[in-house]
Symmetry: D2
Subunit: 393 residues, 4 copies
């Protein structure tokens, strides 16, 4: 895509986010789900009409051949609202799932799952994390899939399966080769969620809410859940490798989304302090202790953006392997930037920052997870350091 | 009270908190208000029967003549659960209101408001903070009360009026002497909440929830709200002075409550990491990065407790004025300790820490307010420093 | 310069730094000045012979027309040793002075001062900071220069005049127009240091040492110090504007130098922990608490480098004004990164980190100044925030 | 000692520190050792005359039977100057050595070493840390002592042997029982330093200086160094146990000394900002960003002092074992408080803070070691956490 038109595209997306998506947030914050989804569906139609739908999609299913850097920039813009990615059809985990199916799935899966997913007709989820085993250690994975009589028989429990509520299918990570070397034990299998062997046990209450539909995280169970053999994605035993593969663009997606959130909080903080009178002749914006928070937030956001965009550049130009250290590094760097900025913004808003009259309180509680999911800070730091130290041996 | 029996009292309270109060938290977290209040009422009866009710109360209304230090120690124990103070009848703002009425109110008010309050028959609230003026600057207070024909006519809007929902009366802070020196402009007046000039506009949604009953924060309005002249508390124009007075024991109460919360989070963190398997032969507790969080939390909690207890000692032995710097200092010191410990605990729990399966997520989001209410960190730091610097002039 | 050869140039510089410059550091740390300067002079000759001398210089005096980005990259490499910039003839304040004279000085000054300076035959200094006035507030500048009988008569005291000891001339900032608007009061004037009206009062002991020659910071005095009228640089009253101008490339120079220091500390930390045995079968490098420091340092360094290089890019492509916010932001961002990394490195070295057996202790104490000179963190944050807030009005 | 007279004693010590000791610091900072020691000797005479000498000493050698808490309070006062403890004869490592000899040494040692030490006639040192083994792991101790023909033959190398330069004897920790359980392998032996088998290899340059006399840290060597069998302190194999024993009061001593340093920095910061003009009508003290540093420093100092004094109280009332967690905790808590306060003070002083015109720069560089010696932060945190976690099993 020519530079000119991409820049226009970013502007168009930003306009929709600011003028149409953000005004829906009060419905979201007050859990008026039905009305919310109805109105978001309207926006989705318009987004499709404007040719802005699912910018992340692979070419073959109607995508735009954007670079990782460009996808990152879009994610920053849509990330300003928790409703943004959904409205533009590039929300996790569907985005990652689509890319995965595009790369590895057989024709049957592509036709029956990828196509309707790409068109936004159905939603999907990704069942990897388990309640009783540490995600950071694949050898502990409990969920199993056995090939019996031409069918995968799946047993196990998963949680934090984002958006399972209302999804049409899930990709499940299960141990298929228990005796293989530990990184070759698991495979990915597609399970339609109307399967009688599948059950959504509950939408987990997260930070006070169980959510609904796309905005939820479920605990789910597979009990002798049977799917045909051709529901295997890619090759048997390649589950971890594909999960790793899925991680790269997803990392950029998330980190840039966090930067979008930080931008939004920064804007709200600046707007608030300018209008908050504290003496007859001055506002909070005149207070050096507030100015300090603004400057620190701005520097943190910009440093993170530069680092994440450099990571995207390395991926675009040299591939994922060359970006390995960067992909690990931006996870904790950007997540901590986010926590800093959200905290500064909330504190600057005073009591208002605690209320749902502003979106900041939502970001504060919900995005705390940024330092945990896809590997907590601590795990990324240790693995990054070990890898870096090898260069000094 | 003899030292021995006070120590026994602490143990008794701790037992009730651990065995009866904490088990009710799931009702609280899932907003099953009716069932929750019913069960808490049962505990209140038992607490009264055991002679543990309202330890903070003034002597004349059935109190125990405890020192500020002892009240602080009780607050640390009841603070372990968000339900603790309520079950023991020493919850804010009722506790502070009772003390205030005890010290300053006329007999009419004592008989009609203080007595039933002390016995836990009714609840009260305290209407000070306003949505459109900075609480830190009293000259900006908007709400007014005019004495017309022997009645106070009150007009204005307040918010973050904790526990207004279901309260029987409020103490309202209003400007009665607009032309007086700025710290002598306001007075405190009692308003029964069935007054037609009073309206509870909404329970403010805070961190995702509007709450209910005692567990709520309201935005309220006074429109030509009339109460008899004898509803004035203390002397006219003494509002700020009494508010200041109310602050000292309240500060110890809150800081020790935060330490109780930190203790709870610390316990949950230690218990979790010991049982969370990460390899077949080790748990999270074996991880040095987790151990570091545990040690830092422990040191922070203990340093805060020592500092708050020293503050209480100074108040007990030398009075509030002598403790002025300490009262200001512990506000931000303990609030930041709390944020540190809650964050460490949440991070150590991993994904579980984000869920309402543990109470930590509640503390994380709700107690963020500790750094804001009763004066944000920033305001306390500046005023403390200005006062300290005077000694060097 | 073609990309290929610039990359080769960086490699060549790095080789000299690592193989010849760093081995001289023990002389530096033990204050064996004579021997040190003698050996550095040898390296300078070789640097000139290899065509690597003074890469920062303006074209007209033998420079290489490098971009700000390229100069930044060189500064990162030479910054690895406190001796690096001097050996390559691009040390502050000479580098900034040369650029300033190149842009603003008359032919007389260029011939007599700029040329020998550019060739490394003489050294210079820059006298701006005063002991008794706040550098952040130009209206407080005390030093004055009056034009009397065709001569500037200068009076005043300066300190932290880096490298005054042994310098041939200084550029002095003095008030020439006391009644002009405050940013138009000062001018820059060249003073040869053999002037009888000039005195070097002392090399200020900084962090335990008074230093010597280039490596020193002096307190100096002008007492009826007379220089010819044509020693004025640029136009009268343009002192602050030129100082501002001087700042942009200087900022990149310093920030990239700090990144070079951070790289050096990072290398030393990694090397040390890998060889420091703590049990018969493991080293410090196996300790997760050390790994955490390594990962955090790496992320901080990379984020800073990205941000500083983006700043350089904006300067190169859009000029200084467009980079105003960035130039302010990188000052405190990079200085704090440096403090973090040096602290992590020192702590990882244990007792060795406190000794002069490693260069880290030097960086720890000496580069603490990074957060102070050219405007302390606090000043940059406030001015950045004020500027950012204007966009929200 | 009666409370009244102890309080008077503290005042007397403070007066001497402020009026006589602090004025000698310029000699110290400019390494005018001879003049410095001469003048300190004068103060020591006066201190003895006033009956304030060596307050820490055991009763039997002229001590005052002070509690650990009281010793802590004295250490806070003398700690205000790096010269304080020496002038009052209670400097480490002599203080700890005296206590150790008092508790464990035989009569021969007491007469020949303890008595002159207690009277300040000679100085001693304590040789434990080794350059090539991790102090945190006793099994790695290299230095050995073999009993041959009634003599201990000692071989090994030590470093960071504080005050070895000019000391009369050292206590050396050496492996005497290599095959014993690892905590029973080492013993303590007294070595007079005129022994031909002993050599002071160098005063280690620490943060730019090798120091002199008491103010130095040496690298020393024992080569077939022979001393009589009765130079053994206590029982063979009890080295680690005695070292542990020595640690408790030493920890209070050091932590309170750090608080004294922090007090000093706090005073200097407040005094400086009040007189540093930044506009014609205001000083640095009017800047909220400075006030914030002052308030944070004050809170940190007070929290630390409370925690350390509580530790001393537990030791006094319940003994060392009961204070085990506290003794570990205050090490890193107080050391980090110190780093925070010194950093805040230095930053508030601006460029002046980097110079030796103020003592802050010395504290900044020299006391960085607080987070390293006697076990780095990291080691204390891990061991504290492991011990705390046992309570949750």
């Amino acid at each position: 895509m020519p530079k000119q038109s991409f820049s226009q595209m970013l502007t168009d997306i930003d306009t929709i986010i600011k003028q149409q998506v953000i005004p829906l947030e009060p419905l979201f914050l007050s859990q008026q789900w039905e009305q919310l989804y109805q109105q978001m569906d309207q926006i989705r139609l318009q987004v499709k009409a404007q040719g802005l739908w699912a910018p992340n999609l692979p070419d073959s299913v109607g995508g735009m051949s954007l670079s990782i850097r460009q996808l990152g920039q879009i994610s920053e813009v849509t990330g300003q609202s928790p409703l943004g990615h959904y409205c533009f059809g590039c929300q996790a985990p569907d985005a990652g799932n689509a890319e995965l199916l595009h790369m590895y799935a057989n024709e049957y899966i592509k036709t029956n799952f990828l196509l309707p997913l790409a068109q936004g007709e159905i939603r999907s989820c990704f069942a990897m994390t388990e309640p009783h085993t540490a995600g950071s250690n694949p050898t502990l994975l409990d969920t199993s899939a056995e090939l019996i009589d031409g069918q995968w028989v799946i047993n196990g429990r998963k949680w934090f399966t984002t958006a399972a509520d209302g999804a049409n299918f899930t990709i499940v990570m299960a141990v298929t080769d228990p005796d293989a070397p530990k990184h070759l034990r698991a495979s990915m299998i597609i399970v339609p969620l109307d399967n009688p062997g599948y059950q959504n046990l509950r939408n987990i209450p997260v930070m006070g809410h169980s959510g609904s539909g796309y905005y939820s995280h479920s605990e789910i169970e597979f009990k002798n859940c049977k799917v045909p053999a051709n529901h295997l994605i890619g090759e048997q035993g390649q589950g971890f490798k594909m999960a790793q593969q899925r991680l790269g663009p997803g990392r950029i997606h998330h980190c840039m989304r966090w930067i979008g959130i930080a931008n939004r909080c920064f804007d709200l903080m600046c707007q608030h302090v300018l209008q908050r009178q504290i003496t007859p002749t001055s506002t909070l914006a005149d207070q050096p202790v507030i100015q300090t928070k603004i400057a620190e937030s701005y520097a943190a956001i910009n440093a993170s953006r530069c680092l994440v965009m450099e990571t995207a550049k390395i991926i675009d130009e040299q591939g994922f392997d060359a970006a390995k250290h960067h992909i690990s590094m931006i996870k904790f760097e950007a997540a901590n930037m986010l926590q800093l900025v959200v905290n500064h913004a909330l504190q600057s808003m005073g009591a208002l920052g605690m209320t749902d009259d502003s979106i900041i309180a939502f970001f504060y509680r919900e995005e705390r997870a940024a330092r945990i999911y896809d590997g907590p800070d601590e795990v990324h730091k240790l693995s990054l350091a070990k890898s870096l130290l090898k260069k000094y041996l």
